[in-house]
C-alpha cells in the first residue's frame, strides 16, 4: 500500500497494483509516469487521473463512448505492446472550468492495457477534435462536426 496526497481527495492510501504506469508520455508531462484513477462522485461519469508524485496534478477524464458513441480508435495507431483492443481502457482528458466550454480531447486519447495497467497518450492521425463539447444540451445533435469522425 502507498500513501499519497491528492488534489481533491486529501491523503489517501492506494494499492500498488491499482497504479497506472505511463510508458507513452502524457504530452507536456514527461516527468509524470504514475497515476491512479479516483472517482469524481458516485454516479458521475467522470474520473480523476491523479498523479502519484505530484499532489496538485489531477486530470478529469471520461470514457469517450459515453459522450461520443461512434468513437473509433484504430488498432494500428496504438503500439502492439498494449495488447489487443479488447484489453484496452480508453479515456479522454476533459477541460472543464476557467470559462471553457466543457470538452474532451478525442484526438489524443489515453489508452491503458487493463491487465498490465500500462499505456499512455496517443495522438491519432484521424482528424478528431481536440475540444469536443461534453454533453450538449438536450435536443442538439451529439454528432461530431463534419470534419471529424470519418474513418479514412
Amino acid at each position: 500500500m502507498l500513501t499519497i496526497d491528492t488534489r481533491y481527495h486529501g491523503r489517501i492510501t492506494v494499492d500498488e497494483q491499482d497504479i497506472l504506469t505511463v510508458d507513452y508520455e502524457i504530452l507536456g508531462f514527461a516527468q509524470e509516469r504514475r497515476f491512479v484513477l479516483l472517482p469524481h462522485q458516485p454516479d458521475s461519469p467522470f474520473l480523476y487521473l491523479q498523479s502519484v508524485s505530484t499532489p496538485t496534478l489531477a486530470f478529469v477524464c471520461i470514457d469517450p463512448l459515453l459522450n461520443f458513441p461512434e468513437y473509433q480508435l484504430p488498432e494500428d495507431e496504438v503500439p502492439a505492446a498494449l495488447g489487443a483492443a479488447s484489453e484496452w481502457a480508453v479515456l479522454c482528458l476533459c477541460t472543464i472550468g476557467n470559462g471553457h466550454t466543457p470538452s474532451m480531447n478525442l484526438r489524443s486519447p489515453l489508452v491503458f492495457n487493463r491487465r498490465t495497467r500500462r499505456g499512455g497518450q496517443f495522438v491519432l492521425s484521424l482528424p478528431y477534435p481536440v475540444q469536443y463539447p461534453l454533453f450538449p444540451p438536450e435536443g442538439t445533435s451529439s454528432e461530431a462536426p463534419s470534419h471529424a469522425g470519418t474513418h479514412p
Binding site: L27, P69, S86, C94
Partner: protein, 86 residues
Amino acid sequence: MLVLTRKTNEALQLQEGTIRIVVLSIQGDQVKLGIDAPRDVSIMREEIVLAASQNQEAAESISPHELSTLTPAKVNPSPRPTPKSR
C-alpha cells in the same frame, strides 16, 4: 500564409540560410521533409504541440463545481458499443 510550390529535392531557406527545409520525397498524401536548423531551434509536429497545450489547459482548468453540474442525467443515453478496431 505564404504559399510556395516545391518539387522533390528543392528546398527553402529561412533566416538567411540558418534554417533549410528540403522536400525529400512525396508519396500519395505524404511529404517527407528534411530540416537543417541550429540545435536551439525547436521543431515539433503541430498535433503534438496542440495535444500538449490542451493537456496543460485540462490540468489547470478543473472546476469541481462545474464538473458536478455535468450530471449523469445529462449524459447522452445512447447505447455504449465496445470500441471497434481494425
